[in-house]
Symmetry: C2
DNA sequence: ATCAATGCAAATAATTTGCAAAAAG
DNA sequence: CTTTTTGCAAATTATTTGCATTGAT
């Protein structure tokens, strides 16, 4: 019996907490469950709202104190789409090197992977005297529908595909 | 007689202002000169400080109101290194698709370009139904000196190479 | 003259923090 | 018991904005 990606992520994060001798409080559990039960990108505020549905005692401070743990574990990464607040992406357990394309107009986000890019990256990085710890590639583009019709048919469609 | 990259950038930005019917005030001129006289990455606060050396009447508000013009022109891009404030990179006139490697430990930043990555990017992007408007690739890594000696010899060396 | 652009200082909003109380181990 | 973690509310800090004035065209 193998775990799904999300169960695996949850397990790995719990191990991460254990290694650092951090306690499993009910609030942390609710936050962890929330983070890995979704595949959506979220803001701190959204995470607070969602986690409170599982455990109303979760506070904003705890959410903000927990987020750095996720990023430190490498299971969640921060994305900067130039919006006011940061976005968090919980899909890195399954796809540790995935990238993003963002539509300039409708903000639709598509995730993709490329072994080829990964290889070139590590070659260049090595030549420059570094080794890769992590990478983040973000392409801003236009939907072809926008190019053709001048308007983006996906307006307000924020689904994330792979 | 051809312009240097920085002179070219300045010229292009002035044209950008003209196209938008924006006025060339002395403050804007000081800010533009400051931005394109450096190759360093800078924060809004640094830009304010530097621009004030050329024209002490430059205010923080004007700096913040001018920065979006630079990014809109495509001649400057915002970088997110996970620090408190945003960093701005004025080197895009010469190298419109350059990328960054950041050392995890000493924060040294190296810029690099790769035609090969650019090509793969546009191919993937096209297959996904988009066209590339811009891209941002950021690799976090470790200096080999860090890997070997456990310490980064470049500590506090923030030079930017290409 | 006209209207955009400015400086100032106040407002905003995301994130962080001090502290006393609560809960994990 | 001891130490970590919590919620609360106040603090912080980068960035934005309203407004009366200045300056470019």
């Amino acid at each position: 019996m193998s775990l799904t990606g999300k169960e695996e992520a949850k397990k790995r994060f719990m191990e991460f907490l254990a290694e650092k001798n951090l306690r499993i409080t009910s609030q942390r559990q609710a936050i962890v469950d929330t983070v890995f039960d979704t595949e959506e990108h979220f803001t701190a505020e959204q995470l607070l709202e969602w986690a409170r549905k599982k455990d109303p005692s979760v506070s904003r401070a705890t959410v903000y104190r927990t987020l750095p743990l996720f990023t430190e574990s490498g299971l969640v990464k921060v994305l900067d789409f130039g919006k006011d607040s940061k976005y968090y992406d919980p899909n890195y357990a399954d796809h540790p090197n995935h990238n993003h394309i963002i539509c300039q107009d409708c903000d639709r986000i598509v995730e993709f992977e490329s072994k080829q890019i990964e290889e070139i990256e590590s070659e260049i990085t090595r030549k420059l005297g570094f080794s890769v710890a992590s990478q983040k590639l973000q392409i801003t583009g236009q939907c072809t529908s926008l190019k053709n019709k001048g308007e983006c048919k996906n307006k307000s469609d924020c689904s994330s595909a792979r």
